[in-house]
């Protein structure tokens, strides 16, 4: 298994929200990728966006700009 590390994990209400967010991130060169939701976090959708913890504040603003509601946003060691 890969070594665990601190990650910013963002979860969503629906798959469509998750994919809309991934698309927006790619279009705006935001770092990260889709991962399955880690067990430490409860989520509606099985998809989560994982990025570096330093992105937390910026991602909150970016979500709002994109009119996408996340379900949770946490920094996890996973």
């Amino acid at each position: 298994m890969r070594q665990k590390e601190w990650k910013l994990v963002i979860t969503f209400r629906t798959t469509a929200d998750a994919i809309a967010f991934e698309k927006a991130c790619k279009a705006n060169d935001k770092p990260g990728r889709m991962i399955p939701v880690p067990r430490e976090i409860s989520a509606g959708c099985g998809l989560a966006w994982a990025s570096v913890p330093e992105e937390k504040d910026g991602m909150a603003v970016f979500l709002e700009e994109q009119n996408i509601k996340c379900e949770e946003m946490k920094v996890l060691f996973c």
């Binding site: 209400r13 629906t14 798959t15 469509a16 929200d17 998750a18 994919i19 809309a20 991934e22 698309k23 889709m34 991962i35 399955p36 509606g44 959708c45 099985g46 998809l47 989560a48």
Partner: protein
């Protein structure tokens, strides 16, 4: 004999090659959208999301997440009609409707809802000016088709949308005959729910369709089940589009729809419509001198679907259509067309109608063969 296909209002038989290629590619490599975070699942989710975007852009919905996929218009219309109304509601509809609207409405009527049908004139045009006279205190919505599958006549959605807005009614539109054919602007037309199919004017695969739902509208789902989200909830999730998409989507079909929407964007729906309407006029002009031919509908405007329904004297429409098929290899649709109130209005319950409907892939040569065939049949 190579057949000529003029039954495009039933389904556009010939599809762009890119649609066929996209379906085959999807069947070779597509995972299940929203059922994992591996590449195969993510690629499916991405393609399906892109398709939502293309649909949303086509009708100016404003939010791709408000596009829910169904297997066809009928499922979309059932979802909307069954999911928005209660037994005490009054709903205004029209005689132009297909059974995919009428039967869900009749079901609601059997449960205590009230339904009114706005009539049409002798050319099959809706008497929109009568809408007001059907208003009641408990009127909740207008449900109407964009264009009749029988005559091709189109309704003025701006006008009906304005009426709905003025009286705070929901506006549900059946775009089965017009999606990809006539321009639709949900915001400018005040449409709350737009129901469409993928396999007609969109040139996509059968088994695709959906609803475009304005953001504030909540529809009770027809189905519940697997969603890929909220696994431990006892109820089906309420978030769009998942709320209306229980079970695995028709990803392979949606991949084809994605490609067909690309095809439409490349050519432009105005160009496609212009060609289809030109074929329609060529056909009408070619048959207009046939004695005893009766053509139904209003051809004074090109804001319509490229459909010509007709009868030859007193001949049973099935007999004419069969002769066209058997002797000339021309595919048309005869009989009743799942639009019983329209047949009543046009006086063709017994005779039915022979419907010719044209597509981008038809040619002038094919139309000329049909014209000659109709002349020969009339002379017999």
């Amino acid at each position: 004999m190579m057949g000529i296909y003029f039954d495009n209002a039933a389904t556009t038989k010939r599809k762009p090659q890119c649609v066929i290629d996209a379906v085959i590619a999807a069947m070779n490599q597509m995972g299940n959208s929203g059922r994992g975070a591996h590449n195969d699942s993510l690629d499916a989710a991405r393609l399906i999301y892109d398709t939502r975007e293309r649909i949303s852009d086509l009708v100016n919905l404003g939010d791709p997440r408000q596009v829910a996929f169904t297997s066809n218009s009928t499922e979309a219309l059932n979802t909307a009609i069954m999911g928005l109304f209660d037994c005490g509601d009054h709903i205004i509809s029209t005689v132009m409707e297909h059974n995919s609207v009428l039967r869900p409405l009749y079901f609601l009527e059997s449960k205590g809802a009230e339904i009114s049908f706005v009539p049409c004139d002798e050319n099959g045009n809706l008497k929109v000016e009568l809408l007001q006279s059907y208003l009641k205190e408990n009127t909740k919505a207008v449900v109407c088709t964009h264009a009749s599958n029988l005559t091709g006549n189109a309704n003025d959605l701006y006008q009906i949308g304005e009426f709905c807005k003025a009286h705070q009614l929901l506006f549900i539109v059946d775009a089965s005959q017009t999606m990809g054919v006539l321009p639709i602007d949900m915001q400018a037309m005040n449409i709350d729910v737009l129901c469409f199919t993928g396999h007609k004017g969109l040139y996509g695969p059968q088994g695709t369709g959906g609803l475009c739902v304005r953001q504030e509208i909540r529809i009770r789902p027809l189905k519940s089940g697997g969603s890929g989200i909220h696994t431990y909830l006892k109820e089906h999730p309420t978030e769009m589009p998942t709320a209306l998409e229980a079970g695995t989507l028709n990803g392979h079909g949606i991949a084809g729809l994605h490609a067909s929407l690309g095809f439409l964007n490349e050519i432009g729906i105005d160009e496609i419509h212009k060609k289809e309407i030109a074929l329609m006029h060529r056909f009408i002009n070619g048959i207009s001198d046939i004695p005893n031919i009766k053509v139904y509908g209003d051809f004074s405007t090109d804001h319509r679907a490229a459909v010509v329904s007709l009868n030859l004297g007193d001949y049973d429409s099935s007999e004419v259509s069969d002769e066209l098929s058997y002797t000339y290899g021309i595919a048309t649709r005869p009989g009743a067309h799942c639009a019983p109130l329209m047949h009543q209005a046009m006086g063709t319950v017994e005779q039915g109608m022979v419907r010719f409907s044209f597509s981008w892939f038809n040619t002038e040569e094919e139309v000329d063969i049909a014209i000659r065939a109709m002349h020969e049949l009339a002379e017999e």
